[in-house]
């Protein structure tokens, strides 16, 4: 099977500090790939490089079979249409209500009539169990609610690929479990591929197909959860048995 995302020899740095060092990963269609690693090891940086919020210093990135590393912006926007991104801090627009936030990608990328957009927004709010929060402003939400609202916006267009930076962090176990079930359901119903950064072991156990473990800017392990647990690398061992 051809990878849906292919990162080759990616090096990323902030000023002088090299954060990702000659790193290569693959993500396959319809899988849930979990990116693991210590806080500050560059997981967010990796996601942001893949979706081209930063330009890598070297290396190539392929998404859906196309090399996007130096792609024209117009071309890349077509790819972005198929990608949903959930940022670590939610990144909702503070000046808009939750419902309007979710409507942005729908208005930007589709020709749906307004009544259908409203309906879709309510669909998404219902999926993340925020039925009554549509008319609130982000500043009126709790931390976990903000996260779920951001997820609703990320899946507004039924993306082919969903990047999630710690989607369940800060949620209670019940809501977190429901959210994991939602991710599984989305994958099944919409054929989504998910790239998820998370530290929650229970969450990993529920959803992970494959683990990609980063350490000091390199990939030190790629494989299934069971293989990861049996790994002889001490960093990984300590992660699963702290």
């Amino acid at each position: 099977m051809n990878p849906i995302i292919q990162v080759r020899n990616l090096t990323a740095q902030y000023d002088e500090e090299i954060v990702l060092d000659d790193l290569s990963i693959d993500v396959y269609p319809n899988e849930i790939a979990i990116i693991l690693g210590k806080s500050g090891c560059g997981k967010t940086t990796l996601l942001k490089n893949i979706i081209r919020l930063y330009q890598p210093s070297s290396g190539t990135i392929e998404i859906l079979g196309q090399d996007v590393t130096w792609m024209e912006e117009i071309e890349f926007n077509k790819i972005l249409r198929k990608i949903g991104v959930l940022f670590q801090n939610g990144a909702l627009l503070n000046s808009l209500t939750v419902a309007d936030n979710i409507a942005i990608p729908l208005e930007q990328h589709t020709d749906l009539p307004p009544s259908l957009i409203r309906r879709l927004v309510r669909e998404k709010l219902h999926l993340v169990e925020l039925d009554n929060a549509g008319s609130l402003l982000p500043s009126q939400l709790s931390g976990g609610m903000r996260k779920r609202a951001a997820l609703a916006r990320a899946i507004a267009l039924d993306p082919l690929i969903l990047f999630g930076d710690e989607p369940t962090a800060g949620l209670d176990p019940v809501t977190a479990a429901a959210l994991d079930q939602l991710l599984l359901k989305l994958r099944r119903l919409l054929n989504m591929t998910l790239v998820i950064v998370t530290h929650e072991l229970t969450s990993i156990q529920r959803i992970a197909d494959r683990i990609i473990f980063l350490d000091r800017g390199k990939v030190i392990f790629q494989g299934t959860l069971d293989a990861a647990k049996q790994s002889s690398i001490s960093t990984i061992q300590r992660f699963f048995n702290p």
């Binding site: 000046s95 589709t110 879709l120 039925d131 008319s135 982000p138 359901k185 919409l190």
Partner: protein
């Protein structure tokens, strides 16, 4: 893409019911519905291969919009995969969102009045707090950042010298130029010195400085404090038992109180310089004549009046900036609003205060 074919009261949908085809399908269904008044309409979904959430929304919309007491709509032969998606995404069985409750006219007026009263209360407390901690802060440095007083003085004062100087020079220059033509008609050329001297020292110097500082530093202070509120930094300070007023505001208060009078003196000086240039060129006065006249007309009280005003203006600027900064609500947009409100309000209050002080000093003037 999805296909639609219509046979009497049966509508067949096939293919992939996804975003790109939704709009046209909805149009065609709408046409079919208006030209058709059979009591039962059946959608056959057996040939659907894929559906996304927009597709489900479409089916919901069709049902909601076109079913009526005398017309029922049914979806039949839904493949299991499609059915699961419909069940997962559909919101048809949920109650509609409740509409927001409208306030009556009197309710909103009452709310306004109540808010104004509580806000003025807050403002008074804030003013008391700021003065209290600023006076305490003169003697005890604990609870303030090291070196922040000097840093703030540089930020508010030193960095504003160039712009205050330039603007004051131009104001003095223009003021003199405009008056020169009038004075000339009466041969009263020498009085340009009186005019510029008094105008700059008592009015324009303090006022222009205050406006520049309100725009430059007032806005910066308001947005800094508002951002600190929004990002919970103020809360964090409180939990570390640091008083936010003391930690954040007091150094700025000291900085602005020290530098505003200095900026004002500088402004006076450059404004008079602007007038001086007009005087010795356009009005052909000698430099000594101009300076002599200036020295005789200006009394120490004028200088002190200006400085007194400048301190009052400084306090207005910082209090207003803190007030709007601390009162911020609603994320990054709130920060922008608080900043704008702070600049507008502080310029407004500076001018109001100037008028009041002007009246007070006017009636206390010795008669020559």
């Amino acid at each position: 893409m999805a296909e639609i074919s219509i046979q009497k009261n049966i509508i067949y949908l096939s293919g992939e019911l996804e975003v790109p085809s939704i709009r046209s399908i909805l149009e065609q269904v709408k046409n079919a519905m208006t030209s058709n008044d059979v009591p039962q309409i059946i959608f056959d979904l057996s040939e659907l291969t894929k559906i996304d959430s927009a597709g489900v929304a479409l089916l919901d919309e069709i049902k909601a919009r076109f079913s009526a007491p005398d017309r029922s709509i049914q979806f039949l032969n839904t493949p299991p995969q499609i059915q699961e998606a419909i069940v997962s995404f559909s919101i048809v069985d949920l109650p509609a969102e409740s509409a927001a409750i409208r306030k009556s006219f009197f309710e909103s007026i009452g709310e306004r009045v109540y808010k104004t009263i509580t806000n003025s209360g807050d403002l008074l407390f804030l003013i008391a707090d700021i003065f209290y901690w600023s006076i305490i802060g003169l003697f005890r440095r604990k609870g303030q950042r090291e070196g922040s007083f000097i840093q703030q003085s540089v930020l508010i004062g030193v960095n504003a010298f160039a712009i205050v100087g330039l603007i004051s020079f131009l104001i003095g220059f223009i003021l003199a130029l405009q008056s020169a033509a009038q004075l000339r008609q009466f041969g009263a050329n020498i009085f340009i010195a009186d005019l510029i001297g008094i105008a700059m020292l008592k009015e324009m110097g303090p006022m222009m400085t205050a406006i520049v500082v309100a725009g430059r530093s007032g806005s910066a202070i308001a947005s800094e404090i508002a951002t600190m509120v929004v990002t919970e930094e103020i809360d964090a300070l409180k939990t570390m038992s640091l008083n936010p007023i003391r930690y954040v505001v007091v150094p700025k208060f000291h900085g602005i109180t020290l530098t505003m009078p200095l900026l004002t003196v500088f402004s006076d000086f450059l404004g008079i310089l602007g007038g001086f240039i007009i005087g010795i060129t356009y009005l052909q006065l000698s430099a000594t004549a101009f300076l002599n006249e200036l020295v005789t007309v200006l009394i120490l009280k004028d200088v002190l009046t200006g400085l007194f005003k400048s301190v009052i203006f400084a306090w207005i600027i910082i209090i207003v900036a803190c007030y709007f900064g601390l009162k911020v609500t609603g994320g990054s947009e709130g920060v922008g609003k608080a900043t704008t409100a702070s600049v507008v309000a502080s310029i407004f209050f500076v001018i109001v205060a100037d008028s009041i002080l002007g009246l007070i000093f006017y009636f206390n003037q010795p008669i020559y």
